[in-house]
Symmetry: C2
Subunit: 435 residues, 2 copies
């Protein structure tokens, strides 16, 4: 007997996350009814292939292979989109929002690329668009920013936002092997996709960072405006030298409010080995948020995976259902009408740097490099040069760290250094973040 | 000109936290109006002494030294209680709830000791009782449990819930000195109160743990039902031996759902030095929550202090104001009608143990102790005995760790061992948690 008082839920997609959502709903619906007074009823589920066997049991009658059936079902008030990708996810979400249905999505690519349109459609039609699952999976980081830390001006965000790259860097740090080997291992273990490009090159982290900036700083920042550098160039040598200097290498997403501009970047960074973020291992995510009132806070957990992601989807679903039950209409949407972000141009960003130069092992080399740094007014903090050359070419790595310097000055210096005849390989530069 | 559409706020107490609340309200009210569509107006403030100079500016007319004036003011819809202590905080909160006013409190002692009455009064009179600030200050841990992780059955909670003791243990671990010295330093730095008893003996952590259990496991657990042991007996020797074994000593609040019973305890514990919780330093707090869907999550930040606590109060305030604006009435209160907790008797709890015996340095000592452990069916994991005695009495510390053993068996074994003539001091036992 259908429960007609229940809030009707439609599900778009029954892949890994979709199946997880069904499983958690089956497990928790009675609890939500009893403890929260909210009755959820899964009314329609869109799948790609009706004949495919499913890992969760569902009445056949709920399934359809026409996604529009789910969105258009008059008994569906809240639509969950876990198809992924831009289209048709985008048009289906818009279609739901435009008739005042709420949407829960785990689709960070969609929100990072087309978020503006979706948030505006939601605001225009008094619908909600919830997306806790799109950033850091099961970690309630969106809620922390919108609710828990609402009394704060957010000053900065430092996040390990991508599990694949964190797994690879952790394994490399533990001496497991070089980048290619550890990528292979991550793929075997299911922590990296068959085509891991978007993870490895920092795009995934940049998309998540853009979403965090939207909430924390109320700016409409395209992920293309974010300075982005991946981890494919990170070598075990750099990891070892970093350790010797007291640092660990992590792929960080960093965003800061600097007066009325936003500094946003994703790149590998040396961070102090005793910092909390340096101790986030394997496929885990963590985000450090600094608020003017609370100071630093860190949120840690699984950033991906079936049930962690489904957990975030279901928490959004319950929240929206509670809103529906009380007839609450959204107030002015903080996420629809944003100011355009004024990103700080990468050239102006100032950080300290770690540099690895591959040089011929002969006198005067350090002086030549120091001289170029001096011309660019970059001051050197530490120098490491071990023993004598063991390579056939007679080269050694020369490690330097700098004090804070402008990106542009650093690029000029390295370009000049790389033209020196004493240099045998392209120099490797990694930013240092003291946190 | 008074804003009559605004939600009226009354403040009980203008001490450290109260002043912080006023400061954050002054800073954020315009933002809340613009971005959230919520207009908050501070209408009445109760202070102890009207003539005392204040660190924040407030119109004189708002102040009263009669707390009832604040609660009874018809223009006050939400009451913030930051007086602390049981009375008159309790009667004032009840008075507000009984006329349907919402209450925000930072008062963990009140909630841990009289929570049942207050939550029932709130439910009966359709009022809200919010208390994010009462556990771990600015960390949105209550919200995480009630909302962010709502799709999960909570399996366990491991928390560093008290900043004072964590500061002392961190300093001791860094070689700063013994317990008494580091307590003095904590008092100088303002991390410990003049009378630090409730922090040191674990009461404060047990009160917070009882509140977390109420939300996570829906049980009405008195903090007196929690096995409790403080840090005053922790010596630098134990910290050093723990380090040698790969552990760090922290005061933990631990709660687990074990079938239909709750295991809840607060005590110092050896935890692996590479665990996240082992790296929580100084006065910071952190809570690890394991949910069946999300797996482990950690929330980290400042657990006390003026602005972190005020941040949590103001986040609750905004949440309640949004509820008021939309005319939302609370659903069945998940926190009023709880089952009575069935705590697992301490004797039945099983953990591994670290033991430090002070013994005469002579042959056969280890055999005597091992024999007693064997009688109690406790199996030994590791033994450390360094060098020869350097004391006048000819004693040495003998360190043993055990595999999992029942508390009762361990107590019997230690009682027997302490009666052996080879033992010169009361043996020191600390639980080990592998996390």
């Amino acid at each position: 007997m259908p429960n007609t008082d229940a809030i009707g839920v439609g599900l778009l997609g029954m892949g890994v996350v979709g199946s997880g959502v069904v499983r958690l709903l089956q497990e928790r619906t009675a609890h939500f009814r009893k403890v929260r007074g909210v009755d959820l009823a899964l009314r329609r589920v869109a799948v790609h292939d009706l004949s495919k066997p499913r890992s969760v049991e569902l009445p056949k009658a709920l399934l359809t292979d026409r996604a529009e059936d789910v969105v258009d079902d008059p008994e569906v008030q809240i639509v969950i989109e876990v198809i992924g990708g831009i289209d048709p996810a985008r048009s289906l979400c818009l279609r739901a929002l435009k008739v005042g249905k709420d949407v829960v999505t785990a689709n960070k690519a969609l929100l990072a690329e087309q978020g503006g349109d979706l948030f505006r459609a939601a605001a225009q039609h008094s619908a909600h668009l919830a997306f806790e699952a799109s950033v850091c999976g099961g970690i309630p980081i969106i809620r922390a920013l919108t609710d828990g830390l609402v009394a704060n001006r957010i000053q900065s965000i430092y996040g390990i936002l991508n599990g694949t790259t964190n797994y690879i860097l952790t394994r490399m740090t533990d001496g497991g092997g070089d980048f290619e080997e550890m990528l292979g291992q991550a793929q075997e273990k299911g922590y990296a996709e068959a085509d891991p490009t978007m993870d490895i090159d920092g795009t995934d982290a940049a998309q998540k960072l853009a979403l965090l900036c939207r909430i924390a700083f109320r700016v409409d920042l395209s992920h293309q405006q974010i300075l982005k550098e991946g981890i494919a160039q990170t070598s075990p040598l750099d990891i070892d030298f970093a350790r010797e200097l007291g640092y660990t290498i992590k792929l960080l997403g960093i965003a800061k409010a600097v007066e009325d501009r936003i500094e946003a970047r994703v790149h590998p960074a040396l961070i102090p080995s005793d910092a909390l973020l340096a101790n986030i291992k394997d496929e885990f995510n963590a985000v450090e948020i600094v608020g003017n009132a609370v100071g630093p806070q860190v949120f840690y957990g699984r950033g991906a995976g079936q049930l962690p992601t489904a957990s975030a989807v279901v928490s959004d679903l319950l929240d929206l259902a509670e809103h529906r039950l009380t007839g609450r209409t959204p107030g002015p949407s903080p996420l629809a009408a944003l100011q355009e972000a004024v990103p700080i141009p990468p050239d102006e960003i100032e950080t300290s740097f770690y540099c690895r130069f591959t040089v011929y092992d002969r006198p005067g080399v350090l002086a030549r490099i120091a001289c170029i740094f001096s011309e660019e007014r970059i001051s050197i903090a530490t120098v490491i040069q071990h023993g004598r050359s063991e390579t056939a070419e007679g080269t050694v790595p020369l490690i330097m760290t700098t004090h804070e310097a402008r990106e542009a000055a650093m690029r000029r210096a390295v370009a000049k250094i790389d033209r020196l005849p004493i240099i045998t390989e392209k120099s490797r530069i990694i930013r240092i973040e003291e946190l």
